[in-house]
Amino acid sequence: MSFREILSMIVVLAVVSGVCGGGLAVVKMQTAEQIEYQKIKNIKEPALKAILSGYDNDPVTDRIKLVTGKDKKGKDVETTVFYAKKGGKVIAVAFEAYGGGFEGNVGIMMAVKIPDEVLDGIAATTHSETPSVGGVALNSPDFMGQFKGKSVSDNFALSSGGGAINGYSGATVSSEAATKAVTSGMEIFKKFKSEILG
């Protein structure tokens, strides 16, 4: 393998993989928008449908992304806020927040009625709680229903911790995760109210 052969090999392989890398980046840029839409539509929409009602737009398209904090590694944490409109007027706002659960983060999608700023309902999106214990709690109407109708500034801690929510018996950790998620969600809402209602 003469030196010239090796050189041509290096050049060809480097150039071809570089060009392919660049081409793929371009394709990625084109499809990024659509992929994000699809992701949200397929994962978040079920939860959105459960908590939002009476809207005539597609909340998945009317959405904005806010940088709502930094995680441990310093990367921005983004929260997507979905708008439910009726006749062009925003009637409710939905977004997702996370609370530490038994097996990992529990994602809770919550909807806040506008303008009276009352919690319109919550639904679990992503969680890896033990299905038979935590999973049941996060789907039981009587536990999840307690949040509906409460005002944004209420104390959402568990009744054992002085709050107004009684935990689902036997799944205290998961119910606590849900309350933590809602509490952090409310803080985000209050902190970024101006941008959200902008």
Binding site: E5, V12, L13, V16, C20, L24, V27, T31, I35, N42
Partner: protein
């Protein structure tokens, strides 16, 4: 012109992957539990096959022989990523169903096999036609295998139930073990057909 037709039809019967030209079995066995995913994967493979064959035969003069396998693989991998992104963007349901089997098209022996054995030596038009023939052949056989397995296994076809109510389905064939036996069975039937064809050909030759 006849060469083009011949290259195209060979992918449809004489060397139809994966039955006669046994390549690319990994995805065939795994994906043919339902016709929808089989057609989805078949479509992906056709696109990658066409793109890789055309690009390979375009670049065949300038690729140094020592590194040609790596360059072919880079081209095929880019084709696969484009398919993956497109599927994620427009057919998200299918993307979730196929899961890991889309990136695995890159190691599908059929695609690299065609690039190595055919596209490297032929002109662009022939490479395109060969890719089309092979791709459609592959998708057709995937669909046949998938419908067989779905109808026998679950009693539905493309999700529509086609079997009478009393048919409870035969889940063995949907399971991994059933895939092997089902493909083995089809290969055996193909052998019978081709053995008979060869026997006739030999008589014709001998006479």
């Amino acid at each position: 012109m006849s060469r083009i037709v011949e290259e195209f039809t060979k992918g449809l019967w004489k060397e139809i992957p994966p039955f006669r030209f046994v390549l690319g079995l990994c995805s065939v066995l795994a994906v043919t539990t339902s016709v929808e995913s089989a057609v989805g994967l078949g479509g992906g493979v056709v696109f990658v096959l066409i793109m890789s064959n055309v690009l390979v035969s375009l670049l065949r003069k300038i690729i140094p022989d020592k590194v040609r396998i790596a360059v072919f693989i880079v081209i095929i991998a880019s084709g696969v990523i484009i398919v993956e992104l497109a599927m994620q963007a427009y057919f998200y349901g299918l993307f979730q169903v196929l899961g890991i089997w889309i990136p695995l098209i890159v190691v599908n022996c059929l695609v690299l096999g065609r690039a190595e054995a055919f596209a490297r030596k032929e002109s662009v038009v022939l490479a395109l036609v060969d890719a089309l023939g092979m791709g459609i052949g592959f998708t057709m056989s995937l669909t046949v295998l998938a419908s067989l397995r779905e109808i026998i296994g679950v009693g539905t076809w493309f999700g529509i139930s086609v079997m009478p109510e009393w048919y409870l389905g035969f889940p063995y064939i949907i399971k991994p073990a059933g895939a092997f036996v089902c493909l083995g069975g089809i290969l055996a039937i193909m052998n019978v057909v081709s053995a008979r064809l060869d026997a006739k050909k030999r008589e014709a030759e001998a006479a």
